[in-house]
């Protein structure tokens, strides 16, 4: 294979996927797609379904998820007459296409001279597909039917003709039919961008060279992944953790991962993980696999995104467990369960490669939804506020504050824009002091924010990690766990499930207070550079007792007072 053609073709294909990402992000109506990039675009091998390339702007959580979806769809389509030009398949069945019902996957075949050359796929988060709570986050769901409607794999477009009956069914079942139509159009239109790009590549290089390049890209990526795995010492590395509860019964859900490294191969074995929960803290197996790759990509960011990377990795995920749930188990907690899979991989591989693996980042997306009708115009709305939180410290650095969950790149909505759009008012949005894990490198702090309701609203929270906070590494301390509190009619109230609450009826003046976990610390706190401890103290990131007791600072310790009404000078030196 000519190395230059290979490099140029690979770049060209990745470019088309990037263009599709940008096009979809700009055209979508759903703020979750347009503001938080909750989408992905990719190309897949027509026979094996392996990823050829995926756009660089979509969310990490879809990294491998689409490949597994496409692989299943190939078999399903074969049973229904195969792929035909102009077809667009649609599916949101989580047991097939992963994540949750709100993530719609579309797949469209790409033909060259009448022969199937590749499958194009995209994913986008639609705001509402029915279910018992707006937006599909139903913390007390016990069946997937509570979370919305399932779209089995079917042709939304058959040979270029849209199935309007299906569209009518979908809009009739959504609280936000206009948005749904806009997002559907954005997703179906973007395939044309991909076809244009591939037409140009085919014209320039011809089908044979292009096919050879695609095959070689997979081989090269596999080799690259294997070289990283080979650098990890052989062995079996085990990590245990648990979820608070499933939102329905207050019982812990254990999760266990054993990573076995053998030469240049890896095995992820989740044997010992809890059976599927009654509540929504479940995910489908392809989502679990995808998140393991997300974790690997966080550890080895230079690895390209294609199916070759997935070849050296095997999985054992017990069927019917919370990580391989089956119908009709609810899966709305995917936003939370997925993040913890990443932490599990860090925890296990941290035993093997502590130089590279950071301590745990906050592992709960803690989705807060506020919904209702606007008092001024009666329009229905759903506001979504997913947690920011602290990242784990690493050999290289302290942890970041206000990170986005490891599987996401979604931003937090502007507070001012929020107050324009929804009848809410933020009381505060600030660093959660003292919440980062202690260590030679300190974990990033969590974030805390309070939202006051200005009208009757329903507030739901779907999170975790109250009882099992993000862990430290190499002697570093754990971070503070999640904390959620409501103020209802002047009374403080903590939901019985602590990290989960469904459709809490709020009135004007009520508030929800959210405090996200920080990240774990790395290395022994006593080894932290004294100057860094003092700086944290002056910034109010740690308190005097922590400086003294945890970090071993001697002498008088005086914390800077930033609060009203007194101005007080920062303490510059200590000891």
């Amino acid at each position: 294979m000519d190395p230059v053609t290979l490099a140029v073709v690979r770049g060209g294909i990745e470019q088309i996927a990037d263009e599709m990402d940008l096009h979809l992000i700009h055209a979508a109506l759903s703020p979750i797609i347009s503001e938080t990039n909750d989408c992905a675009n990719g190309f897949f091998h027509p026979d094996t379904g392996e990823t050829i390339a995926q756009g660089g702007y979509g969310l990490p959580q879809f990294l491998a998820n689409m490949q597994f979806t496409v692989q299943r769809l190939i078999a399903i389509a074969a049973g229904q007459g195969g792929f035909r030009p102009g077809d667009i398949w649609i599916v949101n069945d989580p047991y097939i296409s992963g994540t949750h019902l709100n993530d719609i996957v579309m797949v469209s075949p790409y033909f060259v001279d009448g022969k199937l050359f590749a499958l194009f796929a995209n994913t986008g988060h639609w705001m509402d597909l029915g279910g018992s709570a707006p937006g599909g986050w139903v913390p007390r769901a016990t069946e997937i039917y509570h979370e919305g409607i399932t779209i089995p794999p079917l042709r939304l477009y058959a040979e270029g003709v849209r199935n309007d009956a299906v569209v009518a069914m979908l809009t009739a079942n959504s609280r936000m039919p206009d948005q749904l139509l806009g997002d559907m159009a954005a997703m179906t239109n973007v395939f044309a961008v991909g076809r244009r790009g591939f037409d140009m590549l085919v014209e320039r290089y011809g089908v044979t060279v292009l096919s050879d390049c695609v095959a070689e890209m997979l081989v090269r990526s596999e080799a690259e992944m294997r070289s990283y795995i080979a650098d990890i010492p052989d062995g079996r590395y085990v990590f245990d953790d648990f979820f608070d509860n499933d939102g329905v019964s207050d019982v812990r859900l254990p999760i266990r991962l054993a990573v076995t490294v053998t030469g240049d191969s890896l095995e992820f074995d989740f044997t010992g993980t809890a059976p599927a929960a009654r509540g929504p803290m479940n995910i489908a197996d392809c989502t679990t696999r995808s998140m393991c790759f997300v974790a690997l990509k966080h550890l080895f960011p230079d690895v390209p995104v294609n199916g070759g990377v997935f070849r050296p990795v095997r999985f054992v995920i017990p069927e019917g467990s919370i990580l391989a749930a089956q119908r009709p188990r609810p899966v709305g907690g995917t936003t939370d369960v997925t993040q913890r899979v990443v932490a599990m991989v860090f925890g296990a591989l941290g035993h093997a490669i502590p130089e590279i693996a950071p301590a745990a980042a906050f592992g709960t997306t803690g989705v807060v939804t506020v919904s209702g009708s606007r008092p001024d115009n009666g329009n229905y709305y759903v506001a979504v506020y997913p947690y920011p939180g602290g990242y784990g410290a690493s050999r290289q650095s302290d942890g970041l504050v206000n990170g986005t969950p490891p599987g996401s790149m979604a931003k937090f909505m502007s507070i001012e824009m929020s107050e324009h759009r929804y009848p809410v008012r933020f009381g505060y949005y600030r660093i959660r002091e003292g919440s980062g894990g202690a260590g030679a490198r300190r974990g990033g702090c969590g974030t805390e924010y309070g939202i006051e309701m200005l009208a009757d609203t329903l507030v739901s929270v779907l999170g975790d990690q109250v009882d099992s906070p993000p862990f430290g590494a190499m002697g570093g301390g754990a971070a503070a766990g999640n904390a959620i509190r409501f103020t209802l009619r002047g009374q403080d109230w903590v939901p019985p499930m602590r990290s989960k609450a469904e459709k809490v009826a709020c009135q004007a003046g009520d508030m929800v207070h959210l405090a996200s976990p920080g990240g774990g610390g790395f290395g022994l706190p006593a080894e932290r550079e004294p100057g860094a401890v003092i700086a944290d103290l002056n910034a109010g990131i740690i308190d005097a007792a922590t400086a003294r007791d945890t970090y071993g600072v001697k002498g008088e310790v005086d914390r800077l007072v930033l609060d009203r009404p007194v101005y007080k000078r920062p303490r510059q030196e200590l000891v």
Binding site: L22, R220, Y428, R430, Y567
Partner: protein, 673 residues
């Protein structure tokens, strides 16, 4: 006619362009920059050019001091005063991380937490006061801070764009407490919502203001010492000029003024040559900057990330950068794929052929090995007379061995790959906005741009490339040709149905008036003043608004119609009955100067293109290639590739099969056929 100089103070070089008559370029010059005191380098450049400063009519100036101060965190000690509960907005940002993959790394906010303070007082999103401002506390805080090493106070309250009264009162308190302080209110800097972006912009302003004010004062003094008392104008990142005297109030506006100047110059030169759709490509030692000009107007970005979690929400020319430059390092990755950049050999040790200890082969080494640059006449290097080509060949051989490529093939592969990367970024810029790159002319500049322009042009499918007469100093030239410019903006964020024509008309009128006042206050002689209005609009629920050009008398009906047209153009369809929202109204006021011609000048040599020499250059095989001197190529001269054109500030490669023609302005126009 008046004599003018344009000067661009970059990180490494200070470039100067001089015009004795204000029209034709009399001379160009490059001298090393003086980062300790950038005004010194500027004075040096004037001296080295032998210009009688006292007789100059005007000095036009671009600078990187602001950019560098942010990146290197060398700005002022600021205090930030925020609404109670929101002290950390500046540090928290809006939930993100450094890059999509990799969870390590932290951040350094421009104003650290121990210097961020909260005060009671609250407006709602309509600008109604919910909680009155605790002025007594602000008085105590101001008194306390007066004893601290604080140079600037930044005030950023929630919803101040809707009602700036609290910010203005707080500002007055701090100004009274210490007249030495620079006091910045966020709503004075950007009258738009998005609290993090507005706070960050105000913080950048406060962070830079003392430094930039000192610079302005020092430069004015030095120029006065030389007898210069006339106008000095400084380039802003929106592509417009601002008087030196007003620089202190607009410090944040001059971030990235150099790249903006380059784009302005490229746009102007292309316009004079008859092209109004332009892609500009500026390739230097470490990066490739690309921008798009549509109908003569450089595209503007509303928000630019200066650094991780340091957004600047001011209109800036939309310049995209990738790590591809002469110093970009080539390597073989773990999958056996050849990669180029973004890691750079930098100025030290630099490419292998610079002979300063570099061992990893770079793009410049590939150009040297293939004979594309003249090894016997290194540009910008004083420490050696001849490039270390043999060492570069050895490095190429080592890189190519595992790939089964020989020295020349390896070097060629490096160029192909780096050119493809630049071409992809170039393409992405156009197609993501629904533009067809084939409708554009490519203007390449920067020290390395003309070496690679031919390939980028072919790869992107651009038909014509324009090489300006002085590609190496184009940013300095850009300063010379720009106009004065001020931008006004105001968030509305209301459905069209809730607005009326009279109120919208009044807002636009106020913005025009504001612009005219600022232009008048600049004290600059202007030929004319013009205003352009933009309505930012979206469908209800959308996050990304579209910019729609409107005229000053536009009705809401006009806006609705124009928005639908723009939306259909961008996305191929409209969304029917969904309500449309007017997100903001923006006005740009230009003060048009009588200005220098951009590209003309110099003696006019014969039209016949005559090579000064030939040498072996590798184009998929060694080819005896004609070498031209740029100054001998006059209007009407034509020649075909392969060819090399050498001049003091850069080297141009004309790939085989390309045709070149010198136009009446001295530009070389390159076409595929």
């Amino acid at each position: 006619m008046s004599s003018v100089v344009g000067i661009d103070v970059g990180g490494t070089f200070t470039d100067l362009v001089y015009s004795a008559d204000g029209a034709a370029v009399t001379g160009v010059l490059k001298v090393p920059s003086t980062p300790q005191d950038p005004s010194l380098g500027l004075i040096d450049a004037l001296g080295a050019a032998g210009i009688d400063v006292a007789s100059l009519d005007m000095i036009l100036h671009g600078t990187t001091i602001a950019t560098n101060a942010v990146i290197e965190r060398r700005g002022a000690h600021c205090a930030l005063v925020t609404t109670e509960g929101f002290r950390d907005v500046l540090e928290l940002g809006r939930r993100d991380r450094h890059s999509m993959y990799g969870l390590t790394g932290t951040q350094a906010p421009l104003i650290p937490r121990e210097r961020r303070w909260e005060v009671a007082g609250r407006m709602d999103h309509q600008g109604r006061e919910l909680v009155s401002l605790d002025e007594a506390y602000l008085e105590r805080l101001a008194a306390g801070l007066a004893g601290e090493a604080v140079e600037a106070i930044v005030i950023a309250f929630l919803h101040s764009y809707a009602n700036p009264a609290h910010e203005q009162r707080a500002k007055a308190i701090f100004e009274r407490a210490n007249p030495e302080w620079e006091v910045v209110a966020s709503s004075d800097v950007v009258r738009e919502y998005y609290e993090f972006e507005r706070t960050s912009t105000a913080a950048v302003q406060g962070y830079l203001q003392p430094l930039v004010s000192r610079y302005a004062t020092s430069l004015k003094g030095r120029l006065a010492d030389l007898g210069f008392g006339r106008e000095t104008l400084v380039m802003q990142s929106n592509g417009g000029l601002i008087p030196l005297a007003r620089l202190g109030n607009h410090a944040a506006n001059i971030v990235r003024s150099g790249p903006a100047a380059g784009v302005m110059a490229a746009a102007r030169i292309a316009g004079e040559a008859g092209f109004d759709h332009v892609i500009t490509g500026d390739m230097g030692g470490t990066s490739y900057d690309v921008a798009v000009v549509v109908k003569g107007e450089p595209r503007i970005a509303e928000t630019t990330e200066l650094d991780f979690r340091v957004p600047l929400r001011l209109p800036m020319i939309d310049v995209h950068t990738i790590g591809a430059g002469g110093g970009s390092i080539a390597y073989v990755d773990r999958g056996g794929m050849l990669q180029v950049g973004p890691r750079s050999a930098g100025a030290f040790p630099g490419p292998v052929c610079f002979g300063r200890g570099g061992t990893e082969p770079t793009v410049t080494d590939a150009n040297a090995v293939l004979g594309r640059i003249n090894a016997d006449a290194p540009i910008g290097l004083k420490h050696l007379d001849r490039l270390a080509v043999e060492e570069a060949r050895a490095a190429m051989a080592a890189l190519g061995r595992p790939l089964g490529l020989d020295v020349e093939e390896t070097a060629q592969a490096i160029l192909t790959i780096v050119n493809a990367r630049m071409a992809r970024r170039t393409r992405l810029l156009t197609v993501e906005r629904g533009l067809d790159p084939r409708d554009f002319v490519l203007v390449v500049f920067g020290g390395a741009g003309p070496l690679h322009g031919s390939s980028i042009m072919r790869e992107v499918g651009i038909r014509t490339m324009l090489l300006p007469p002085h590609p190496g100093v184009l940013c300095a030239l850009g300063c010379m040709v720009a106009d004065l410019r001020y931008d006004m903006s105001r968030t509305i964020e209301r459905p069209l149905g809730e607005l009326d024509d009279a109120a919208v008309g009044e807002m636009l009128r106020q913005q025009r008036e504001d612009g005219e006042e600022r232009l008048a206050a600049s004290g600059t002689r202007l030929e004319a003043v013009s205003h352009q209005h933009i309505a930012e609009m979206s469908y209800a629920g959308q996050i990304h608004p579209l910019r729609v050009a409107i005229d000053g008398s536009a009705t809401l009906g006009d806006m609705e119609r124009l928005f639908e047209q723009a939306y259909a153009l961008e996305y191929g369809n409209t969304l029917g009955p969904i309500a449309k929202v007017l997100v903001s109204l923006k006005t740009t006021s230009h003060g048009l100067r009588r200005r220098a011609g951009a590209g003309t000048g110099g003696p006019r040599p014969a039209a016949q293109a005559v090579p000064v020499a030939h040498r072996e250059v590798y184009f998929a095989g060694w080819v005896r290639t004609p070498i031209y001197r740029r100054e001998t190529l006059g209007p009407g001269a034509t020649f075909t590739g392969p060819a090399i054109i050498e001049q003091a500030d850069t080297t141009t490669v004309l790939e085989p099969g390309l045709h070149a023609r010198v136009d009446d302005h001295g530009n070389i126009l390159v076409e595929a056929q």
